[in-house]
C-alpha cells in the first residue's frame, strides 16, 4: 500500500485513516480468535469422546473349551475348566441354560467357543488400568501368546440392555426407550404445535387474549426443564395414574417442553409466507381454510419441519425432567410398549457415568457417541427436508 501522506495535492486525505484501519483489523482479529476458540473446544470435546469411546465398540473374547451337560446347566461355572473360571464373564455363564435351550444339539457336547471375558481382563487387553491377580494374569498371557484371547467387535453393546456386569451392558434398551418416548412426543407436540401456530398466525384477532397466549408461549420456552418433570410427575403420574418410568409419561412431559419450540418456529415459518399468496387466494374467492390449507401451509412446511426436528433433537437430549418421572431406572430389558418401564439414552449415559467400574467409562463415551450421531443425523434430515421442499421464488 502506498504511504498516505498529508499532501496538499490529495483532496481525499483523511487524518483518521490509519486509526480506522487498525480498528477494523482489530475487530476482524477478535472475530477470528473467537471462532478458533470455539472450534478448539469442539475438537477437544469430540476428540476426547472418540478416544475414550472407541474401545467400547470392541470387547475381549477368549477361545475356550465349554462343556454342555446336566452339571454345567445346574452350576454354570462348571462348564469351563477351573483355570479359566475367573476369566470368563459371569454374564456369559449365566446364559448357558438359555443357550442349550435354544440349541438342544449342544447338550452333552464339548465345544471350543469364543467366550466373553471379565471386564478387568478386557481392560487389560485394551491397555487400560486393571486389577487382576498375578496367577490369572499369567494364564491370560499364556492364552494371549496362543492367540486365543482377542478383541472382537462388541455386538453386545447394541443388542443388550443395561447390566450390572459391565462387559454385558449395552445401549439397546435405552435406544428403544428413546425412540418410543420421542414417538409419543412427536405425535402429541407436532399436531398441537402446528395447529396452535396456525390459529395464532392466521385466525386469531390481535387482542389482549392472543397477546397473553403469545407471552405465555414465549415464557414456556424459557422454563427450566426440570420443572416440566415435576409437572409430569404431578399431572400424568399422580393425577392420571399413568405408569411411572414409562415412555408414555416421558413422551407427554417432553411434548410439553417441545411444544413452545414448535409453536414459535411454525409461527415464524407461517409469517415468512408472503402475504401476496394469501391475497391471491382471497382474490379468487377462496375461503380462509382453503387458502391456509392449500397455499400457506405447504409453503411453510419446510420451516415447520426444521423447527420440529430441532425441537425433537432437543427433547432427545433431555435428561432432567425424565429423572423426575423415573426414567433413570435400571432397565436391563427393552420396553415392549409405551406403558412399560424404560430409560432413554441421555439417562443411560448419566447412569453409566456414575458407575465405579472402569469399563463404564468407555461405555459412557460410546453412549455419547451414539447419541450424538443420532442427533447429527436428525439435524441432517432437517436440512435435507428444508432443501427438498423449499420453493424457489
Amino acid at each position: 500500500m502506498n504511504k498516505l501522506k498529508n499532501t496538499s495535492d490529495n483532496p481525499f486525505y483523511d487524518p483518521g485513516l490509519r486509526k480506522r484501519h487498525a480498528q477494523a483489523k482489530r475487530f476482524k482479529l477478535f472475530s477470528i480468535a473467537s471462532i478458533v476458540f470455539a472450534i478448539a473446544f469442539l475438537v477437544f470435546f469430540l476428540g476426547d469422546m472418540i478416544v475414550k469411546g472407541l474401545p467400547a465398540f470392541q470387547q475381549t473374547y477368549m477361545l475356550v473349551e465349554v462343556t454342555y451337560n446336566e452339571k454345567s446347566i445346574n452350576s454354570t461355572r462348571k462348564a469351563i475348566d477351573k483355570k479359566y473360571r475367573r476369566i470368563v464373564s459371569r454374564a456369559w455363564l449365566r446364559d448357558i441354560p438359555a443357550m442349550v435351550e435354544n440349541q438342544p444339539e449342544l447338550m452333552g457336547t464339548t465345544q471350543m467357543t469364543w467366550v466373553l471375558v471379565n471386564h478387568q481382563i478386557d481392560q487389560y487387553m485394551k491397555g487400560h488400568y486393571y486389577k487382576i491377580k498375578d496367577k490369572i494374569l499369567s494364564t491370560v498371557k499364556d492364552k494371549q501368546a496362543k492367540g486365543e484371547i482377542e478383541l472382537h467387535f462388541n455386538r453386545n453393546f447394541f443388542t443388550h440392555g443395561d447390566s450390572k456386569i459391565p462387559e454385558n451392558s449395552g445401549i439397546k434398551s435405552a435406544i428403544i426407550g428413546s425412540v418410543l418416548t420421542l414417538i409419543v412426543t412427536m405425535l402429541i407436540a407436532f399436531p398441537l404445535g402446528v395447529m396452535t401456530a396456525v390459529y395464532l398466525e392466521e385466525f386469531a384477532e390481535d387482542n389482549r387474549w392472543s397477546q397473553i397466549i403469545e407471552i405465555n408461549i414465549n415464557n414456556l420456552a424459557a422454563i427450566p426443564s426440570i420443572l416440566f418433570g415435576l409437572l409430569g410427575l404431578a399431572v400424568f403420574i399422580n393425577l392420571f395414574g399413568m405408569p411411572r418410568s414409562s415412555p408414555m409419561v416421558g413422551g407427554l412431559t417432553l411434548a410439553l417442553m417441545t411444544l413452545p419450540i414448535i409453536i414459535v418456529s411454525a409461527r415464524a415459518a407461517l409469517r415468512s409466507v408472503p402475504d401476496s399468496i394469501r391475497q391471491a387466494g382471497y382474490g379468487l374467492g377462496l375461503t380462509k381454510i382453503q387458502v391456509v390449507q392449500d397455499h400457506v401451509l405447504p409453503l411453510a412446511f419446510p420451516g415447520i419441519m426444521t423447527g420440529s426436528i430441532i425441537g425433537l433433537s432437543q427433547a432427545m437430549g433431555e435428561t432432567a425432567p425424565l429423572i423426575i418421572i423415573g426414567m433413570i431406572a435400571f432397565i436391563p430389558d427393552s420396553p415392549g410398549s409405551i406403558f412399560q418401564a424404560a430409560t432413554v439414552m441421555p439417562a443411560q449415559i448419566f447412569t453409566w457415568a456414575g458407575m465405579p467400574e472402569r469399563a463404564y467409562v468407555e461405555r459412557t463415551a460410546a453412549g455419547i457417541m451414539v447419541l450424538l450421531s443420532i442427533l447429527i443425523s436428525l439435524n441432517a434430515l432437517a436440512i435435507y427436508l428444508r432443501k427438498k421442499f423449499e420453493v424457489n421464488w
Binding site: 401476496s276 391471491a280 379468487l284 374467492g285
Partner: protein, 268 residues
C-alpha cells in the same frame, strides 16, 4: 340467476350503457382515519374504468371495497352501499367469499401460486366446482390461458412452476387464473407497475380484448396508460372522488382545477 341478468344487460348494451356496479355514499375508516369520503359512482358494463390520483389518495382502498378485500384488514369500517347487479354486497346476507368469485382481482406484484402453471389456473375453478377434474378442467385451463394471451408461450410447459415465468408472463398467468373463475368484474391494482414497457403493452392489449366480456376497473399511476385503455377515468384526491367522466373529457377538458393540475403534472 345473476348470470342470466348480466347476460341480458350485456345484450342491451347497444341501447345504453348499464351500470354494473353502483357505489352509493361509500365511506371508509381505518380506525379513526377517514380514508374515503362519500363516494358515489357508477361503473359500466364492458368498459374499462381507470382510477387515477396521487399516492395515498384512496384509489386502491376504494378498489378493494368492490370485492370486500378490505374485510381482511383489521379495524376497517365501511359505511354505504356497493350494488353489483342491483344487490348490495355489504348486505348482511351476502357472503364475501362469493362476492370475490364474481369480482376477480389482479394485483400489483405478479403473485402466482408456487405451483405448476396448470394448477395455478385450475385450482380455484376446481375448488368452486365450476369444472370437474380431467378433460373439462383441461379445456377451461386452455381457454383461460388463450384468453390471457399466454397459451402459445406455455402450452408445452404446463407442468413447470408458475414462478419460473417472466414477470409479464406471470402477470398474464394471474389474469388467466382470475378469468378461469368466470367473474363479471375484474379489478386490477396497478397491474403493470412492476413490468417493463413491452410486457405492459401486452397487458394493455389484453385489457382491451377482455373488456368485451368483463367490466374492468384499473388503478394506475401511469396517466398515459389511463389515456390509452380507459373508457372512463376517475380522479381521486385525499379520499375524495374529485372528478369522474369519460377519459377524453378528463384529459382534454377537465371540469375541476385540481384534476387539470394533476393531469398536467402541476400538482404536488
Amino acid at each position: 340467476m345473476n348470470k342470466k341478468t348480466s347476460l341480458i344487460e350485456k345484450s342491451e348494451k347497444s341501447i345504453k350503457e348499464n351500470a354494473k356496479v353502483k357505489i352509493r355514499d361509500l365511506n371508509l375508516y381505518y380506525s379513526d382515519n377517514h380514508a374515503l369520503h362519500d363516494i358515489n359512482m357508477d361503473l359500466y358494463v364492458n368498459k374499462i374504468t381507470a382510477l387515477i390520483g396521487p399516492s395515498g389518495c384512496g384509489k386502491s382502498t376504494f378498489l378493494r371495497c368492490l370485492n370486500r378485500m378490505n374485510d381482511l384488514i383489521r379495524n376497517v369500517r365501511i359505511e354505504g352501499e356497493v350494488f353489483i347487479d342491483e344487490k348490495n354486497i355489504y348486505d348482511k346476507d351476502v357472503d364475501e367469499v362469493a362476492v370475490r368469485k364474481r369480482v376477480g382481482m389482479v394485483f400489483q406484484q405478479p403473485n402466482p401460486f408456487p405451483k405448476s402453471i396448470y394448477e395455478n389456473v385450475a385450482y380455484a375453478p376446481l375448488k368452486h366446482g365450476i369444472v370437474r377434474k380431467g378433460h373439462e378442467c383441461d379445456v377451461l385451463v386452455e381457454k383461460s390461458l388463450v384468453q390471457a394471451g399466454l397459451w402459445n408461450e406455455v402450452k408445452d410447459k404446463l407442468k413447470e412452476p408458475g414462478t419460473s415465468l417472466s414477470g409479464g408472463q406471470q402477470q398474464r398467468l394471474c389474469i388467466a387464473r382470475t378469468i378461469a373463475v368466470e367473474p363479471d368484474v375484474i379489478l386490477m391494482d396497478e397491474p403493470t407497475s412492476a413490468l417493463d414497457p413491452i410486457s405492459t403493452e401486452k397487458i394493455e392489449a389484453l385489457m382491451l380484448e377482455l373488456k368485451e366480456k368483463y367490466s374492468i376497473i384499473i388503478v394506475t399511476h401511469n396517466m398515459q396508460q389511463a389515456g390509452r385503455v380507459a373508457d372512463y377515468t376517475a380522479f381521486f384526491h385525499l379520499g375524495d372522488l374529485i372528478e369522474y367522466d369519460e377519459t377524453e373529457t378528463i384529459f382534454i377538458n377537465p371540469a375541476k382545477k385540481k384534476t387539470e393540475d394533476y393531469i398536467t403534472g402541476r400538482y404536488g
